[in-house]
C-alpha cells in the first residue's frame, strides 16, 4: 500500500507549537485532579497558609503590631529558649501526649468495637458517648471542678463509699496532669468513636462469615479482620491525635492555667501567655514555629515508620 505523503496532508502536530502536546498530556493526566483541588487550595492559601507565613515572619520581629516593627533576627527564639519554664513546658506537653495516647487512643477503639456489636441501644450509646462533645466548654469546667473537689466532690465521695481515701486530682502537681487528660479524653472521645464506627461499617461481612466458618474465635476475628481493616484509619488517627493533644488549650487553660506550680504548663499555654498576657507576639510566634518544627519532624518520622511497616506487610 502506497501512502500519500503530500505536504498538504502532513500530520497536524508539525503545525502546532512544541509545548502544546506535552501540555495536553499534562492536562489530561493532572487537570481533573488539580481542578478538584482548587477550592481547597484557594481557601487554605488565603486563610491559613498566608497567615501562617505571616506569623512565621513575625517571629523575627519585635513590636510587630503595636508601634514600629523592627527586625531582631533570632532574638525572640533565644528569649524563648532561655525562658525559665521552657523545658518544663515541653516535658509537660510530652507527658500530656503520652497519657493522652494511653488513655485517649485505645478507649475510643474499644468503645467503637463494642458499640458496634451490641444488638440493642446502639443509638443511645452513640449519643451518650458523644454528649461531652456537644456540651459547652464552660459547663465542662463547672462540672469537672465540682467532680474533682477534694472535700465532698463527687468522685471523692464515691471513692469514700468503697473506702478509698480522697485523691487530690487537680490540686497536686503529681496528679494534675493525668487528671486533666481524663477531662480532655472525656470531652473529645465522642468524635473519635464516631470515626471508628464509620470505619467499622466498611468491613465486608463475608470476611467474618468466612472466618467463622473456618472456626475462628471472636478474638481471632478481631485480630485478623477488624484491626487490619481499620489499620489505615487507626494509623492516621494516631498521628493526628498526637498532634492535636500537644495543642490542647481550652481545658488546661480554664481548669488549671498551668498550675499547680507549673505542673500543667504546656507549650500551648506558654504561647498563649506570651501573646496575650505579655503582649509579646514575637515570642509567641517563635515558640509556635519551634512547636511546628518539632511536629513536622515527628510526622516525617512517623510516615517513615509506617511506610516501612506497610511495605513489610504488603
Amino acid at each position: 500500500m502506497v501512502t500519500l505523503k503530500h505536504p498538504a496532508l502532513a500530520q497536524p502536530e508539525t503545525r502546532t507549537t512544541s509545548w502544546a502536546r506535552p501540555l495536553a498530556r499534562f492536562m489530561q493526566r493532572n487537570g481533573a485532579g488539580l481542578l478538584f483541588l482548587t477550592p481547597a487550595i484557594l481557601v487554605f492559601a488565603f486563610f491559613v497558609w498566608y497567615p501562617m507565613v505571616y506569623g512565621f515572619v513575625l517571629s523575627f520581629q519585635k513590636n510587630a503590631f503595636y508601634g514600629t516593627p523592627s527586625f531582631v533576627g533570632f532574638q525572640n527564639y533565644l528569649f524563648v529558649l532561655h525562658d525559665f519554664n521552657f523545658w518544663t513546658a515541653w516535658r509537660n506537653s510530652a507527658l500530656y501526649a503520652l497519657y493522652g495516647l494511653l488513655i485517649g487512643y485505645l478507649i475510643p477503639i474499644v468503645l467503637a468495637v463494642v458499640i458496634n456489636e451490641v444488638r440493642r441501644g446502639q443509638g443511645y450509646f452513640r449519643l451518650a458517648f458523644y454528649l461531652p462533645v456537644i456540651v459547652p466548654p464552660i459547663v465542662t469546667v463547672f462540672l469537672w471542678r465540682y467532680l474533682y473537689e477534694h472535700d465532698g466532690g463527687l468522685i471523692n465521695s464515691l471513692l469514700s463509699l468503697v473506702h478509698i481515701g480522697p485523691q487530690p486530682w487537680l490540686q497536686s502537681p503529681g496528679t494534675a496532669l493525668p487528671s486533666l487528660v481524663i477531662v480532655t479524653t472525656w470531652a473529645n472521645m465522642g468524635g473519635t468513636v464516631l470515626i471508628y464506627l464509620a470505619a467499622l461499617q466498611g468491613i465486608p461481612a463475608q470476611l467474618y462469615e468466612a472466618a467463622e466458618i473456618d472456626g475462628s474465635t471472636v478474638w481471632q476475628r478481631i485480630r485478623h479482620i477488624t484491626l487490619p481493616q481499620m489499620r489505615g484509619i487507626m494509623l492516621i488517627l494516631l498521628l493526628i491525635q498526637l498532634i492535636a493533644t500537644v495543642q490542647i488549650f481550652t481545658e488546661p487553660y480554664t481548669l488549671t492555667n498551668g498550675g499547680p506550680d507549673h505542673a500543667t504548663l504546656t507549650v500551648m499555654l506558654m504561647i498563649y501567655q506570651y501573646a496575650f498576657a505579655s503582649g509579646n507576639f514575637g515570642a509567641a510566634s517563635a515558640l509556635g514555629v519551634i512547636l511546628f518544627l518539632v511536629l513536622v519532624v515527628l510526622s516525617l518520622g512517623y510516615f517513615g515508620i509506617t511506610r516501612r511497616f506497610n511495605r513489610g506487610v504488603e
Partner: protein, 459 residues
C-alpha cells in the same frame, strides 16, 4: 458604683417612671442635662463597646435613651454602640488590626499594657477640661496615666477588703464589728472559725492570675513593693521580706492551723462559689463582687460583711489594692473624635444627675445598690457620689461601714507586665499552699528570676 440594671425583670416604662417619680427625679428632663456638654459642631462618629448584651433588652433601651439624649444635644455627633464586652484577647487582636472601638470600657488591670503597646490615645487635653477631672485622687490618676500624660478615665473603683460570712463569724464566737487588724489577728480568727465551726476560715485565690493579684495586695498591706523602675529597665523586687513573711503566715495557716480551704487551685469564680455557698468563712474580695454574689449565686446579702484589709503587724502598709473600670480611647483618633468621646464619657459616667438616674433604675430593678466604692475621687464630688449611693441603697450598708471608713490608701497595681507578673506569682502561691515544706523564699526567687527575663526583654 453606678451599676447598670441587668434586666432581671422586664422593666416596663411605666413602672420605671413611677419609681423615678417616687424618688423625686424626672427622667424626662434627661435631654436638658445632656446639653451641659455643648455641641461639637462638626460631623463626628465614634464607636463604643459598652452596649449591654442583647439578652437584657431593658438595659439596652435605657442605654439607647441616654445615647439619643446625648446626640440630640451634640448635633453632628453619632454614637455607634456595640455590645462587645471587654475581653483581653479580642481587644488586643483588634488593636493589632487597628479596629478596636474608639471608646473602650476596660478593667483597671490592662491600661498600662495598652499604654506600653501604644493602643490608646493621649487624652490629657480633653480630660483636663472635664469638671470632675480635678476631683481624682493621685492614685486613681496613676492607673491610666504614664509620663504625665492621661490615657484613660477611671470610674467605679473598688478596693480589696476582707469579705466575711456573718453567721459563721458569730458561730465561732467572734464579733462582726471587730475586724482583725493585723495578720496575726487574721490568723487567729481563721483558726477559731475552723475549730469552732469546722468550716475553713479562709479561702485564698490562686489561679488565673488572681493568686498574684492577691499576693500583691497582701504585700501592699505590709508596705512592700513588687516592681521598681519602669519600661525595659524595670526590676522585679517581689522577693522581699514582706512577701516571705506573709507567705510563711499563709502556709502556717494551711498546714498548722488547718484553717485554709483545701484546694490549691482556686480561680476568681471558684472563690465566689466557695464563699457564696458557705464553704469558707472569709475571702479577700472587692465590693463589686456583691452583685455577682447576689444575682448569680443568690446569696443572702444580709449575711455578708466587709472588713478592711488586715495589715502587717511589724510594718503596716496602710494600703490596699484597687480594681475597677476605666475608659480608654483609641490611638490614632482625631482630636474631634476624642473630644466627642470624652464628652460622652463625661456625660454617661460622671454626670451626677445621670448617675442618680442610673442608680434609681438599678434599685428599681432589684440590683444591689449602695455597696461602697473605692475613693478614686475626693472633695465635694466624692461627697455627692456617696450621697446618691446612700440615698438609694438597698443593701445592708452597715455591714460595710468598717470597710468603707478604713482610711487605707489605695495603691495602684505594678505597671509593667502586670498580668505576666501575676501569672508568675500564681505559681508561688500554689507552691506554698501545695506543700508544707515549700520554701517561700526559694519560690519567690525562682519566680523573680523568671519574670525578670520578661521585664528585661521589654516584653
Amino acid at each position: 458604683m453606678a451599676s447598670r440594671p441587668s434586666g432581671t425583670s422586664p422593666l416596663s416604662r411605666r413602672a420605671l417612671m413611677r419609681n423615678a417619680a417616687a424618688a423625686g427625679i424626672s427622667i424626662v428632663g434627661l435631654d436638658l442635662l445632656a446639653a451641659c456638654g455643648g455641641s461639637s459642631g462638626s460631623n463626628v462618629t465614634f464607636s463604643t463597646n459598652e452596649l449591654p448584651a442583647a439578652s437584657n433588652p431593658a438595659q439596652v433601651k435605657i442605654y439607647q435613651n441616654y445615647v439619643q439624649a446625648f446626640e440630640q444635644n451634640h448635633k453632628g455627633v453619632h454614637i455607634n454602640a456595640l455590645a462587645d464586652a471587654y475581653n483581653t484577647q479580642t481587644y488586643f487582636t483588634k488593636a493589632a488590626a487597628r479596629s478596636q472601638e474608639d471608646l473602650v470600657d476596660a478593667p483597671f488591670t490592662d491600661p498600662q499594657l495598652m499604654i506600653a503597646r501604644g493602643t490608646v490615645a493621649d487624652i490629657s487635653s480633653q480630660a483636663k477640661q472635664q469638671s470632675f477631672f480635678n476631683s481624682y485622687t493621685q492614685s486613681a490618676l496613676a492607673i491610666a496615666s504614664s509620663g504625665g500624660k492621661v490615657f484613660g478615665l477611671p470610674y467605679a473603683g473598688y478596693q480589696l477588703g476582707l469579705m466575711f460570712n456573718i453567721s459563721l463569724i458569730k458561730a465561732a464566737g467572734l464579733d462582726p464589728n471587730t475586724p482583725p487588724k493585723t495578720w496575726d489577728d487574721f490568723r487567729a480568727y481563721a483558726k477559731q472559725i475552723a475549730s469552732k465551726t469546722g468550716v475553713p476560715g479562709y479561702v485564698e485565690l490562686t489561679n488565673q492570675n488572681t493568686g498574684g493579684w492577691h499576693l500583691t495586695n497582701w504585700i501592699y498591706t505590709g508596705g512592700g513593693d513588687l516592681e521598681s523602675g519602669s519600661g525595659s529597665s524595670a526590676k522585679a523586687v517581689f522577693s522581699n521580706d514582706v512577701a516571705v513573711a506573709w507567705l510563711k503566715n499563709l502556709q502556717a495557716m494551711k498546714f498548722q492551723d488547718h484553717s485554709v480551704f483545701n484546694d490549691v487551685l482556686v480561680g476568681y469564680n471558684d472563690a465566689l462559689q466557695i464563699f457564696g455557698t458557705g464553704k469558707a468563712a472569709m475571702v479577700v474580695e472587692a465590693s463589686d463582687t456583691l452583685p455577682a454574689l447576689q444575682t448569680a449565686y443568690q446569696a443572702d446579702m444580709k449575711n455578708i460583711g466587709l472588713w478592711p484589709m488586715p495589715q502587717s503587724p511589724s510594718n503596716p502598709g496602710n494600703a490596699t489594692l484597687s480594681g475597677g473600670h476605666v475608659y480608654v480611647f483609641k490611638a490614632g483618633d482625631s482630636s474631634d473624635v476624642l473630644s466627642a468621646a470624652v464628652d460622652w464619657a463625661s456625660y454617661y459616667r460622671f454626670d451626677l444627675t445621670v448617675i442618680e438616674n442610673s442608680t434609681v433604675q438599678a434599685a428599681a430593678s432589684g440590683l444591689p445598690v449602695g455597696f461602697p466604692t473605692a475613693t478614686i475621687f475626693t472633695g465635694s464630688y466624692q461627697e455627692q457620689l456617696l450621697g446618691i449611693s446612700k440615698k438609694y441603697a438597698n443593701l445592708p450598708v452597715d455591714n460595710y461601714t468598717l470597710y468603707a471608713n478604713s482610711g487605707l490608701s489605695l495603691r495602684p497595681e505594678p505597671p509593667v507586665q502586670t498580668q505576666a507578673m501575676y501569672g508568675a506569682l500564681d505559681s508561688v502561691v500554689q507552691a506554698v499552699l501545695g506543700s508544707g515544706s515549700a520554701e517561700p523564699q526559694a519560690e519567690l526567687n525562682k519566680a523573680q528570676q523568671a519574670f525578670q527575663a520578661t521585664l528585661s526583654s521589654g516584653g
